[in-house]
Amino acid sequence: MEYISLITGFIMLMIGLWGILTQKNIIKIIISFTIFDSAINIIIISIGYISGRTAPILDKAVPVKDAVTKIVDPIPQALVLTSIVISLGVTALMLAYALKLHKYKNTLEINKFKDLKW
C-alpha cells in the first residue's frame, strides 16, 4: 500500500499507451496522450516520496529546525511543474492540428488520412 501512487501511475501509463495504439478517433488519441502525461507526472512525484513524511512546506506542522527529517523530496515536485506546463503546450498544439485536420477532410478518423502513408 505504501507505493500505491506508483502502481496507479504504471496502470495509467499502460491505459494511455493502449489508447494511443488502438484508438481511431484523433480526439481520443489526444486524450490518451494526456493520460500518459499525467501518469508520468504521478510516477515522478511518487519516486520522491519518503514514507511517513509530509509536503515540503514549512508551516506549523513542520518546524524549520526539523525540516530535514519531516519533508519529502521537493526536487521532483519542482520538475513536475515544468513537465505539466510542457504537456499543456503539447496538448494545445495537438488540438489545433486536430481542428485543422477536421477542416481539411471533415473527419477525425485517423485511417482516412493516408497522405503520408507508403
Binding site: 505504501e2 520522491g48 508551516d59 525540516a67 523530496d73 521537493p74 503546450g89 494545445a92 485543422k100
Partner: protein, 234 residues
Amino acid sequence: MVRKFLIFILLATFSVIFINLYQDFKGQDKLNDLSTYYAENEPQELGAQNIVTSIVVTYRGFDTLGEVTILFLAASIIGFFLKIKESDKNKKRELRKTSEILETASKILVPLIFLLGVYVFANGHLTPGGGFQGGAIMASGMVLMLLANPEKDVKHSLFSGIESISGFTYVILGLLGIYFAYGFLDNRVLPLGQFGNIFSAGLIPVIYTFIGLKVGSELTNIVGNLKETQKETE
C-alpha cells in the same frame, strides 16, 4: 490481426518491465544531499515557506524562464496556425441562446474565480500554488465567461499586451538580481521580511504575480484562437 498481436506483445512487454521495476523499487529513506541543502538552508537564504516555490522561482529560476518561453512559443504557434481570414473575422455565428442558469451563475462565479486565481499566485511562497496554477485558474474563469457569452470574442490585443508586459518585467526583475543581489533571478533584491508573512521572500511573490498574469493571458489567447476558427468558412 497482425497489428493487434503486435500491440498486445508491446503492452505485455511493458507490463513485465513495469512489474519488475515496481518489485525492485525501494523508496528513499532520507533526503539526498541537494534536497538536504535546500531543506536546511532555504529558510535563512530565501525566506520562502514553500520549498518547492523557492526551487522553481529562485534556485532553478532559469528553468522557469525557459518554461514560460515554451508556453509563449506554443501560444504563438497556435495563434499563427489558426489564423483566419480578415473577411471571416466579423462574421456572426448562429448559436443557441445561453441558458439563464449559466448566464446568471457566470456573473457571480467569474469574479470569485479571478479572486481565487489572484489568491493562489500571491500566496505561492506560503501555500501550495503559484503563478502557473493561479494563471490556469484565471484562464478557466475566462473560459466560463466565453461559454456564457458565446457571441463575444477574446480581445487578443489586450491579452497579448498583458502577456508581453509581464514577460518583459519578469526578465527585468531577473536582471535586477545581478546588480542588487548575487545573480540572475536572485530574490534578495527586496528585504526577506518576516518568515511566513505574505510580504516575505523578497522578489518571489512579485515574480509569481507576473508569471500568473502571463500564463493566464496566454491560456486565454489559446482558448480564444481555438474558438475563433469555428467562424471560418468551409
